[in-house]
Symmetry: C2
Subunit: 249 residues, 2 copies
Amino acid sequence: MIRIAIVAPCGPVNQDSLRAGKRNLLSHFPNCEFIEAPNLDRESGFLAGTDQERIDSLRWAFESSDADIIWIARGGFGAVRIALCMPWTDFAAESRARLVGYSDATLLLSSFAQAGGTAIHGPMIAADIARGFEDERTWNSIERLILSNDKKLNDDFLFEGRVLNNLPVKIDGRILAGNLTVFASTAGTKIFPSTKDKVIFLEDVNEEPYRVERALCQLLLSGFFDEAKAVVFGNFSNCIAETPERSFT
Amino acid sequence: MIRIAIVAPCGPVNQDSLRAGKRNLLSHFPNCEFIEAPNLDRESGFLAGTDQERIDSLRWAFESSDADIIWIARGGFGAVRIALCMPWTDFAAESRARLVGYSDATLLLSSFAQAGGTAIHGPMIAADIARGFEDERTWNSIERLILSNDKKLNDDFLFEGRVLNNLPVKIDGRILAGNLTVFASTAGTKIFPSTKDKVIFLEDVNEEPYRVERALCQLLLSGFFDEAKAVVFGNFSNCIAETPERSFT
């Protein structure tokens, strides 16, 4: 069995989505078993419970859940309020678990990875996984990258892209993946991740083009891209202008 | 006559608003004369012309317009793209002009003030002034603070507030005023303003509560408040949640 601890360090979790996500995962991978953080049904404004409840739940997952995977239920907002309170180095040293999520969870992933843990920028149980995927390829990736933690990727994982700069076509490097706005919101703070020799993947959702530009400016001016090997732009979902005639494409 | 150079270093200027703003100012203060930056009618997506056009226009205002006041027409977005290209120290040393604006122009004001210039966080010609003010008090403030540059304020300028912290009731200090999100977007960069011994005034508009919180977190974690004397929260217009049941008040 693969032991999965579901945690909610960011926004409150819709219980129907949580059930749908678990059902979808189980129907593809019957060898999963779930244990749930105590705050999974908590709601405090736009947070899944108080800061202390969310901190305690993450500690529970890393320190006593004995999980193979600590899987973040959903993003939203709230990671920045607790990311600095976590003993990431202890977590990385004492837990075998890999941490999975994206969006607002970016900060937790990058902090854990920086401390030596395995962080996987991947779909979340009460979000994408609850909605399901039409292509088998995504389920295959979940199996190999997340469930089996198979780091030997082959050509199946190639995806189509467009080279925007005059970079060489082949680049090796560790991946640092995350949400553009969240990375920008850590500039100037102690949780701003190191990007040295990294291949940076960026995504975002629901940000107007001028906000995307502002975040890119902040990262540019704070040195985020200076020592990176490459930058890859992933999905920027619904990042469209409210008044397109007053924007750029 | 008071010589006013109108500039557009941020978003594109609505020409009707510009006319209305000039008309409103003139009807209250017939001793104003206006000269206009070459890019005042330019529009390039969400910017008032290219970066170079906006840079050239600001340089024109400081270097050759011979203005008493350099008045920013409107905010929007774009200041961060050019703020680092400006010779602020030369501007402050060689021009007598005071710079007026707010919102996205925050960066220009704080850079100019930091270099020793006089920056006034005040209404903008093609924005608030175009819409007009119902109370004479605002027009009086414009006359005394901006047009006459009278720094000796008296009780007329007191405004109602609520003390949130256990601060003493009377605090002296230079004011640093600006847009919360814009200040946050300079964290980690060279244009992050010094707040030592300052009384910080913050405002914002059209930001969801979680965005306000994220910006406050970033400023907190990057030391923005550490050496300030006080923080004053001004108007946070339309900073309301799209789904209020999932937010805080």
